[in-house]
Amino acid sequence: MLVFIAKRLLWMIPSLFAVSFLAFVLIQLPPGDYVTTYIATLAASNEIVDQNTAAQLRERFGLDDPMLIQYFKWIWGILSRGDFGISFEWQQPVSDLIWERMALTLVLALSTLIATWAIALPIGVYSAVRKYSIGDYFFTAFTFFGLAVPSFLLALVLMYVAAVEFGQDVGGLFSPEYENASWSFAKMADLFSHLWLPVIILAVSSTASLIRVMRANMLDELPKPYVTTARAKGLSEFRLLMKYPMMIALNPFISTIAWLLPNLISGSVVVAIVLNLPTAAPLLLQALMAQDMYLAGAFVLLICALTLIGSLISDILLALVDPRIRLE
């Protein structure tokens, strides 16, 4: 096991290099560069960038260098100084920008995740065990709704109703008075009072799909003989389900952990934008769209690292949950 983990950790190094390089290429692949997007953005408000300034921006950001050189400069900065470079757009060190948003991102993403799993798994199991009962139909209808309504439309409607009909303060994660206040109990309370709306919106569609998947997998496991054995022992239906078929039905979910962590960062961009959430996703998106290379590159690197860690964790869990799977 330890050997396995060590081997995997070692493998992360070349993987990170490969992904970061490819990401760098990919980010640059779309036409134009940061300066083009910058000019285009300003032009949207009919604002004009001085011609000389634009040329000079390019030069300053080294955008005229060949890509390989840009990449090595960047990687060297990371390796030698832990310097992830400067965001073109904000002229701030990339690491500051990323970490600033990570805390809230994690709070939001984890709450969503917990809400999703906590709601979806039991319902999925219920739907499978009581297949074609009223309850199953009810949840099925709910899941269809959750699947068919784009989450940001839902966000928009809820926000509209809350803001216009009830005069509620929506969007963002804090009330104005706490926005820049230091952390306190009151601020936490304020955060949680804002958190429910995004959590609901973000959770709806993933909950829905999770329910469907869980139901399907449970239905496969329920008639297995070992379930009957457990039943013959006199186990209560709930404990029985939790312990036996559920553990096997979880297998696909454990596999998904590989991209759960990175999804915490990059998932649900559009909702975050509509709801105005100060999370990492909009920043990442903006960086990608604007070809703010170092910022986007650092994000991709982070996502890659998280993917690798996630897939390691998920592999270990797979083997723990199902001893028939051996780690090699």
């Binding site: 990919l26 068919a148 070809q291 897939s311 592999d315």
Partner: protein, 373 residues
């Protein structure tokens, strides 16, 4: 052998059902699934010849019908004497000069009768021939029948929804299908062999999982020839993106296969001389079919809706192309929520499609389940 041969076997002993027949029979007994199948088929018929089901030219803009609310269809006319038959009353438009808001009022003095198999705008059937016969038509071209109302340019939302089904029910599914195939094959191989092969495939999957897709979209949009029609471009992009989209399914399949491959029946299949491909697809995959069916039925709405988020970012399909995603995206603003909720009718189409596909999936799953009663 006479001593153990089972006697009294009916003469046609081979007259038992094949597995497909069994599945079909089981499926037929699933009433909801049958309904879903019919709905799905209907949707695809509509998608094949949207022109026939559309009432008005979906691209036709109409200054007098901007934000026209859905028209009421009446059956009994009491205004102009008493008569029977589906008809509607044209709406009169006045515009508030200050706010520019449109105000529509039903003009009950005029009555327009709805025709079935009447004539309307000309459309082409499979690009083979042109016709102007429509399922529903209105004889009055100046005040068109707007079942779902009209959008900001006075275009008929109903006809646009019908037209949009074509793209939404085809292109996205191609991507779903491709990533599905790739996911199963790669995940299956990785999980079936395990060991070193698995190790390297997993590194590949990790790699693919960490690639950002937005720049690929952007680059693709630029690289594809601009004189291609938008839908073709979109199709190419979905195809290419499905080259990265398989990774998730592949991982899930692989996780399950890692444990499935230790099952005795897999060993038995190997002893039967079954080749790897067949073991993976014919012997192991069915045990995972429920999950895969669920994933497909989930991926389809996701794909339809992905368009909306993509066009939100200025990627993917864009108007003037009509698809449900584009229509929803166009509707997604405070303006529509506040003043023109009928613009969300394409959303209902999505709901129906999702429902039909999922119920269909459920039915299939149940029918293929040997333990199903």
């Amino acid at each position: 052998m006479a001593d153990i041969a089972v006697t009294n076997i009916p003469p046609d002993r081979a007259a038992v059902a094949s597995q497909w027949q069994l599945i079909w029979w089981a499926f037929r007994r699933h009433r909801l699934a049958m309904v879903a199948l019919v709905v799905t088929l209907l949707m695809y018929i509509v998608a094949l010849v949207p022109g026939f089901f559309a009432i008005n030219d979906p691209y036709l803009q109409n200054a007098r019908a901007t934000f026209h609310p859905p028209q009421k269809v009446h059956l009994i006319d009491t205004q102009n004497g008493f008569s029977f038959g589906p008809h509607y009353y044209p709406m009169k438009l006045t515009r508030d000069p200050e706010t520019l808001a449109a105000i529509f009022k039903e003009d009950t003095t005029k009555r327009v009768d709805i025709q079935f198999f009447g004539r309307g705008y000309e459309y082409s059937v499979f690009g083979l021939f042109n016709t102007n016969i429509h399922l529903i038509a209105s004889p009055d071209k100046t005040t068109p029948l707007l079942l779902f109302g009209a959008d900001r340019l006075g275009r008929d939302v109903f006809s646009r929804t019908v037209q949009g089904s074509q793209v939404s029910l085809s292109i996205g599914l191609l991507g779903v299908f491709l990533s599905l195939m790739l996911g199963i094959v790669i995940g299956g191989i990785s999980g079936y062999y395990g060991g070193r092969i698995d190790f390297f495939m997993q590194r590949l999957i990790d790699f693919v999982l960490s690639l950002p897709t937005i720049p690929i979209w952007l680059a693709m949009a630029a690289a594809l020839p601009q004189d291609w029609p938008a839908t073709l471009q979109y199709m190419m992009i979905t195809i290419i993106l499905s080259l990265t989209g398989w990774a998730q399914l592949a991982r899930v399949v692989r996780g399950r296969f890692l444990s499935l491959r230790t099952e005795e029946f897999v060993a038995a299949a190997r002893l039967d001389g079954v080749r790897e491909g067949r073991i993976i697809f014919r012997h192991m995959l069915p045990s995972f079919a429920s999950h895969i069916i669920a994933s497909i039925t989930l991926a389809v709405p996701a794909m339809i809706l992905a368009e909306t988020s993509l066009s939100f970012l200025g990627l993917g399909l864009q108007p003037p192309t009509i698809s449900w995603g584009v229509l929803l995206r166009e509707a997604q603003n405070i303006r529509s929520i506040a003043t023109a909720p009928w613009l969300f009718m394409p959303g209902c189409a999505v709901v129906v499609a999702v429902m039909a596909l999922n119920l269909l999936g459920d039915g299939l799953r149940d029918a293929a389940d040997p333990y199903n009663k």
